[in-house]
């Protein structure tokens, strides 16, 4: 088949994963609504849907991996697709997180009469931005440096060193998440404590969720690097993970400056 192909585009084989992912999403949505309205079987349908989506993600990505790494379908021109696609995905993520920070700024720049016209609202004990919040801004930035180290190692063909660099990237990410968990556990406000708690936990929580996604992405890259999937010339998966990771660590600066620092003193 490859022999007869006179172009460098990848014509994909029929695959069951789009429909299985769609059915999983449908079950998750319906199950989620049923669960939140205390319908019988809601939790079961929701769990089934989520398992279905996770299964689809696993097998679909496994197929893409086989097509690219083992069958060589990802030619130079094919690589452009996932690159542009991933950049657009990150742009949409930036807009999503911007909305959350905007909600926080909207509530804090001109606090309403209902919360006494002051920010933080009366009785809200805020965290000292110079303690864990500052440390937890430096850690993702350092992790971003480590992922650049991994990139250089891959480009230089130093395979082992790239694995070490990715281990460093992931370790720093895990330290960040552990500190963030500790901060949430010890923080005096809860998500139900006025508009402060709502915007604080929504913004920092979604950032933390993205850190966890980026950590998983980096772990996958580390494993693939260890297995020799990534080469000097071809490592689109790693590039996407590095872009994502830089997006996550740069985004951390916004809650640090506007929520923890400006909004907390």
């Amino acid at each position: 088949m490859i022999e007869s192909q006179r172009h460098s585009y990848h014509l994909v084989d029929p695959s069951p994963w789009p429909i299985s992912g769609s059915l999983g999403a449908l079950a998750t949505t319906v199950g989620g609504v049923m669960y939140m309205h205390s319908f019988q079987g809601g939790a079961t349908l929701l769990s089934l849907g989520l398992i279905f989506i996770l299964y689809t993600m696993f097998v679909w990505w496994r197929d893409v991996l086989r097509e690219s790494t083992l069958e060589g379908h990802h030619t130079k021109v094919v690589q452009l697709g996932p690159r542009y696609g991933f950049i657009l995905f990150i742009v949409s993520e930036v807009m999503f997180l911007f909305a959350l920070f905007r909600a926080s700024s909207h509530s804090s720049l001109a606090p309403t009469v209902e919360i006494g016209g002051i920010w933080p609202p009366k009785g809200i004990a805020v965290l000292d931005p110079r303690e864990i919040p500052f440390l937890n801004t430096l850690i993702p930035l350092s992790s971003g440096a480590a992922v650049t180290w991994a990139h250089h190692a891959i480009l230089a063909g130093k395979e082992k060193r790239a694995v070490y660099a990715l281990v460093a990237t992931v370790s720093l990410a895990l330290v960040f998440t552990a500190f963030q968990g500790m901060e949430y556990y010890q923080a005096p406000p809860t998500i139900s404590d006025s508009i402060y708690g709502s915007t604080f936990f929504l913004a920092t929580g979604f950032h933390g969720f993205h850190v966890i996604i980026g950590t998983l992405f980096s772990i996958i890259c580390g494993i693939r690097q260890y297995l020799g999937h990534l080469t000097k010339e071809h490592h689109v998966g790693f590039e996407a993970a590095a872009w994502y990771w830089h997006f996550v660590d740069v985004v951390r600066l916004f809650p640090f400056v506007s929520i923890y620092w400006w909004g907390g003193i």
Partner: protein, 77 residues
């Protein structure tokens, strides 16, 4: 026949918008801060009382008075 002088609170540059809710609230807070600092019968505080009474809806004042009594008023007193 004596003329009755009708006056509302003067314009305040801190509150240039049409919506004067924040103006009302601030005058209410200023009155209570004034009374807290100068005593209940200080005449300097009268103007703040006039301002907030002419700007604020009565229900708001009732609610804030209640909040102050219960110690849950959110403003910077």
């Amino acid at each position: 026949m004596a003329e009755i002088e009708l006056k509302t609170a003067p314009g305040d540059y801190r509150f240039p918008t049409t919506n004067q809710s924040r103006h009302c609230f601030t005058r209410y807070v200023e009155f209570h801060r004034c009374v807290a600092a100068k005593g209940d019968d200080a005449s300097e505080c009268d103007k703040f009382a006039k301002f907030y009474r002419s700007l604020c809806p009565g229900e708001w004042v009732d609610r804030w008075n209640e909040q102050r009594e219960n110690g849950v008023f959110p403003g910077p007193l």
